[in-house]
Symmetry: C2
Subunit: 240 residues, 2 copies
């Protein structure tokens, strides 16, 4: 046991110790830190324990690991944010406002070209569009516009979406194997403004989600929110 190096019994302790070294700049970005075997000896624990600590630090983006090379400290420049996207109903009820769902439009048929491409629809392929509004008391909180690929999810054709939104229904499909989210801001055109109860040109926050099952596109969903009443937030903390 080295001075200043007491026995560390758990992977959390080991993780915290290594993280502290990195934050202290004992181990600087670009450097290779000691190997698992050496650390295990130093800390008086099993290599498995050190391994788990390092694996989690790698997942969190603090280090990078390569076989035969070792574990390398990364400089913290890239950032990642994990935003939780709660079901809209819960999101609204949480604020205390009354939730109301309103279906605006539901129709199956041949979608516009842009949508057909997003859904990777075959030539005769049909899609189901379901557009709806979610109210928070007297205010419109979200307009959802869902396009569902009926080739991939024929079951959707049987859904009326009179009570609950298509987005919600889609989220209930457990089988999804891939998800892509995009968020951005937008100025509304006249129609969008009307649907959202805003003046044309008003800023909206847009969240789009595309989902797949085994390489087949399931749906493309666009969620639009008045800029003033929607935000996504994310928080990450590491042990003190």
């Amino acid at each position: 046991m080295k001075p200043g190096g007491p026995t560390l019994g758990t992977y959390r302790e080991v993780k915290a110790e290594i993280l502290a070294r990195i934050r202290n700049r004992d181990w600087k970005p670009g450097e290779i830190i000691p190997g698992e075997v050496q650390l295990a000896r130093q800390y008086g624990c099993a290599r498995t324990t050190v391994n788990r600590a390092l694996r989690e630090l790698a997942e969190a983006g603090f280090v990078e690991r390569k076989r035969r090379v070792g574990t390398c400290v990364l400089g913290g420049n890239a950032q990642e944010a994990r935003f939780a996207i709660p079901p809209i109903r819960r999101d609204i009820e949480r604020t205390g406002a009354a939730y109301r769902y309103e279906l605006l439009r539901r129709s199956a048929g041949r979608p516009p070209r842009a949508i057909a491409i997003l859904l990777k629809l075959g030539d005769g392929g049909l899609a189901l569009q379901a557009k709806a509004r979610h109210w928070a008391g007297p205010a419109i909180h979200q307009v959802e516009d869902c396009w569902i690929n009926l080739e991939t999810v024929p079951a959707a054709a049987a859904q009326a979406f009179g009570q609950g939104g298509a987005n919600e229904w889609l989220l209930g499909l457990t089988a999804v194997t891939r998800v892509r989210h995009v968020c951005h801001a937008m100025s509304t055109n006249a129609q969008e403004a009307g649907e959202l109860g805003l003046s044309p040109g008003a800023a909206v926050f847009v969240l789009e989600r595309q989902t797949w099952i085994d390489g087949q596109v399931v749906a493309w969903v666009r969620l639009m929110h008045p800029a003033a009443s929607y935000r996504l937030s994310a928080e990450t903390a590491w042990e003190a």
Copy 2:
């Protein structure tokens, strides 16, 4: 060995097998799945292996685990998106556009009340504001407005930020222990529009980041982007 239950040797196989069962609805949302010991027997592997598979499925949000109770399948309703936030310079260069940095303002002093609160500044506490623009060729791609708590990071006072932005510098601090991101859309007022080269009222995409070191606020940063030229995207895929 049960029929249809071949020996699974690795935690990845076990994970895929369990995921398949969940997607198949063999195990439905709300149900408790068999315990680790039983699964290990069934798959012919060590309990540790099953444990790792289940742990990762729990991290990914497919199941929830409770001691003495068991592992419960979750219905996939909540969503999570992990957005990568690349350093702005790289983001611009990636598009092929010429990157240019322009410092607009740098001044230390007593900040406005709202900022003082965000920074948890003491009564006499000073902050450093650094506002800058990032150009992509002829277009303004981002206006960054950084407020740095000089009590927490006195070293910032020595930085001129003439060449690189304060945001970038802040990201280089490895010691940060907590990060909070918020993103939303906004209509610009006259000043913001001017700084962004847009007409007043234009939509912008705003990303805000607040960072801490051991409970002390380090900085609050607001990054504003013309709506048309910025989007965040995230993609998650699970094994087929």
